[in-house]
Symmetry: C2
Subunit: 219 residues, 2 copies
């Protein structure tokens, strides 16, 4: 274990955790181009974040840049992947195998970023018992009994809005420690449960507004 790390994992500021994957994306691009070194100034220029902020964010990692040369690209890439948890497997179950849940199971990108969806759960008898990309779909009634053997810590919530809270409660009761909520519903959970809201549809509202949709002027 490196002396740079504490005995308990550090709770990083969320803005830092959201910026680090940007750096990783840029560094991966450089790596694919065969670039060997990159400075924080260079990253700053490319992705429009202050160089001092970047240096600060990267100071959480077990990596040091060299004066005038910067960071080793390959090393920075693997340190970022490691630090962000992308190079490790995190077992997850998908609650709701409708359109979005099915799409997420089929997206191989998630596994590249460490999310290993091991099973889906649904109430629809036409999907229960089937498999999607080798991921079996079980009846939601089996959540309690199957979760321990599946070794899943993460529950992805992709159910209709009206079922979101109940789905979350079931997952927590089955021992799930973190919820990735894809519904726009504000799920309430106990303080010791991690919750991450990714309401992709809400982002559409921002885009539509910025696009200056004139619809509401023409009524």
């Amino acid at each position: 274990m490196s002396a740079a790390y504490n005995t308990t994992p550090e709770l990083l500021p969320e803005p830092t955790l959201r910026r680090l994957p940007w750096y990783l994306a840029y560094v991966s691009l450089l790596h694919s181009r065969g670039v060997e070194y990159v400075s924080s100034t260079q990253i700053a220029r490319e992705i429009n974040v202050d160089a001092s902020q970047i240096a600060k964010d990267l100071s959480f990692l077990n990596i040091k840049g060299k004066t005038r040369i910067g960071y080793e690209v390959e090393n920075l890439k693997s340190e970022l992947e490691y630090f962000l948890g992308f190079s490790e497997k995190h077992n997850a179950v998908m609650l709701g195998v409708g359109s979005l849940g099915r799409a997420l199971i089929q997206d191989s990108g998630l596994s590249r970023y460490g999310l290993n969806i091991v099973a889906g759960f649904d109430i629809d008898p036409t999907v229960v018992g089937t498999s999607i990309n080798d991921v079996p779909v079980f009846d939601i009634a089996e959540l309690d009994s199957r979760c321990p053997e599946l070794g899943a810590e993460i529950g992805v919530v992709a159910v209709p809005i009206e079922a979101a809270q109940e789905a979350a409660d079931c997952l927590v009761a089955a021992g799930i420690k973190a919820l990735w909520n894809f519904t726009p519903f504000r799920i309430r959970v106990a303080a010791d449960i991690v919750i991450q809201n990714t309401s992709i549809y809400s982002h559409l509202a921002v885009m539509y507004n910025r696009l200056g949709s004139r619809s509401f002027l023409d009524r």
Copy 2:
């Protein structure tokens, strides 16, 4: 046209635009349960946002609550959908029909929130010429010629990191006015182009860290 609206669409604060869909989700739930009225205090209790903030956010809408009764649920629901642009069709093209692009095309949720994906574009000869859920996939070389006839204002970017900037440049050159970027790459565009970043994988990093993954302690 209602007097409540300006002649140009108001540029709403992004936090407001991100909260409004939460209210819509809750109000939709109440609507499905047959509830007729809801107060901002009640919404506040459910979704953990200050009642005064909610009242302020809702003041942008063309709707008034009644003293002691609150807002009409059905009316608030349709006003929110209308205001957020969800009840209108916005034509979009998907750039990159790999795993994520294909998944997004297959997600019927997007069309319920007003996003109408009319075509996909890719460079892979095995997907060009095929259709996904009746959405045709064209060669990326045809972007310029096809965009005007497709009537698309929005380009969804779901290409590999190393192709993200080039994909964005092609979309803008073809007349696209807004980019919905699903890659973690920080795309640079001219100031008049709307960009919305939805890097779902970045959210995983926050969740992994909060879960207190002990991996980096065990090296």
